[in-house]
Amino acid sequence: MSQDKRASLAEAASLVRDGDVVALQNMATQLAPMAVVRELVRQQRRNLGIVGLVAGIPVDWMSAAGVMDRFIGGAVSMEQFGLCQRYRKGVEAGAIRVEELSETALNSRLGAAARNLPFLPTRGMIGTQLIDMDPDNLRLIEDPFGGRPIVACRALVPDVAIVHAHRADRAGNVQLEPTAEWPDLGIMPKAARRVIVTVEEIVDSSLLRRRPDRTVLPGFVVDAVVEVPFGAHPTSCFPFYGYDTALHLAWVKAARDDDATEAFLDRYVREPADQAAYLRAVGGATTMLALQRWEHA
């Protein structure tokens, strides 16, 4: 009944242009669209501004590979695997600019963009210095009804949103298994100009019709949908598979050293020609089966 939005990873990644503001789904170690992230590194995209609530390893890889020069959002952390060292070095060296936002500020900025509003207000951040650092986008305004001032958070329209989910049909209608619904999927695709979705599998619409309440994104907002099994690896995709502890630890170790970082990126990001080659590089079926059992989570 609708247009066919299926695309290859390369085609999807070509929707991202140098300098774009890219809203990236991720929650520390969860559900990042890693296959697209790797493709952006391979295609040597430059000067991206990454928007994230809590971004983890994808931001560290993109920092290491020189893909991004701005982070707009809440935090960058791999939780129990620690801070993102390459991102941190980039910021401390002045190569990556941070526009830090509280959670309600980021949600409000993206929410305003989705609804074509100039801003949405929050009472968060009052008293903090976060407001002072971002006068272009955060402004204390009077309550027209006589109460205390509140913070107007200016609409933030990303050029592209990139998200990962469990399944979609060809039209790009996206379903999520019952799991955490982080704000990313709830708002990024609605705020952005273009939308890339990777999914574990593309299925016939008839399968979606069996559980219409699990569809979280209508196809008409989606520009490209790409089938990538284990597309969130090494982040998790509950309930299908857990985050890859070994690969996270290997990255943390490599990230301490410039040469080791490059070798890691070559081996796991630049050299694998496709998703199958990548999965072989990270341990193949044995690793994937262990992740499906959530053995290290």
Binding site: M27, A28, T29, Q30, L53, V54, G73, G74, A75, V76, S77, E79, Q80, L83, Y87, R88, V91, E92, G94, R97, V98, E100, L101, S102, E103, T104, A105, N107, G111, T122, R123, G124, M125, I126, G127, T128, Q129, L130, M133, R148, P178, T179, A180, E181, W182, P183, G186, I187, S236, F238, P239, G242, Y243, T245, W294, H296, A297
Partner: protein
């Protein structure tokens, strides 16, 4: 996979003398029992990432004095029954067997911002100052050229301003984490102290700081951090030496923090956190 859950008989105090002080508690266990005491039946608790000590505290409270503590694990899973504390406090194993998955963009903040619900938050911070302001943004003097870039504040940047009661935990009490003035206020405490917070119309605010050395509250008028109790075996001098500003002392003798009971220690070690995830946060002093 048939682990004890919060409602099984195995979780109930087992022995008549379970209330006696433990003989071999460790400081992580003491921090957990002290934090647990802040949460009572009817509270709604909620944890963020890398929060092994608060999560253990919620689980302990539910197993002991607050069986009707509502817990929204990772701000996602309502009243979960995790098998034990997992390796991440932000991943699905924590919200196992929940009664609800709360959507984050639209819904979680309806409750968090409302003011009536989710009143108490446990907060960890890289820097905390004498007036309870916290910093998770950067160390240094220049936002755009920091000495150290910290992870960022996310929800903390909101929680300090929207009327929540904040409970800080700090497993590594030292002069770099407890400072005279934070390099950057990314979570609003009592700002410059006194009525400054109140004057801005902010309600709630920091209540308590539980570290690996002591417990601190806030002097009601100046809003200056005040020693409430030192942990068994720790001296006031040790606390002062580990603190980057002059502590306010309570009137009279400084009390000693109550040690965990034998039963609390048993629950933490055998039921709640047999893998010792809580210890990950310590020892970085």
């Amino acid at each position: 996979m048939s682990a004890p859950t919060t409602s099984t008989p195995a979780s109930a105090p087992a022995a008549a003398d379970a209330g006696r002080p433990a003989e071999d508690w460790t400081v992580d266990e003491l921090m957990i029992t002290r934090l647990a005491a802040c949460f009572v039946d009817g509270d709604q608790a909620c944890n963020g990432m890398a929060s092994f000590i608060p999560v253990s505290a919620f689980m302990l409270a539910r197993l002991t004095h607050a069986p009707e503590l509502v817990w929204l694990a990772s701000a996602v899973g309502l009243d979960p029954r995790p098998e034990r504390v997992p390796a991440s406090t932000l991943e699905a194993p924590l919200w196992r067997d929940s009664v609800m998955y709360m959507e984050q963009f639209g819904d979680f903040w309806n409750y968090a911002l409302n003011g009536r619900w989710l009143q108490k938050f446990c907060v960890g911070a890289a820097q905390l100052d004498r007036f309870g302001n916290a910093n998770n943004s950067f160390i240094g003097t220049d936002y755009h050229a920091p000495k150290v870039r910290l992870p960022g504040t996310v929800g903390m940047g909101d929680m300090g301003s929207i009327g929540k009661l904040l409970y800080y935990w700090n497993p590594n009490h030292n002069p770099r984490s407890l400072v005279e003035k934070v390099d950057f206020v990314s979570c609003a405490g009592y700002l410059g102290g006194g009525t400054e917070r109140e004057d801005l119309g902010l309600v709630g605010g920091p209540q308590l700081v539980v570290t690996d050395l002591c417990v601190m509250d806030f002097e009601p008028v100046t809003k200056h951090l005040r020693l409430q109790s030192v942990h068994p075996g720790v001296t006031v001098e040790q606390v002062q030496a580990a603190t980057g500003f002059e502590l306010v002392l309570p009137e009279g003798e400084v009390p000693v923090t109550a040690a965990p009971t034998a039963e609390q220690v048993r629950l933490i070690r055998e039921v709640i956190d047999p893998d010792g995830m809580r210890k990950r946060e310590l020892g970085k002093r």
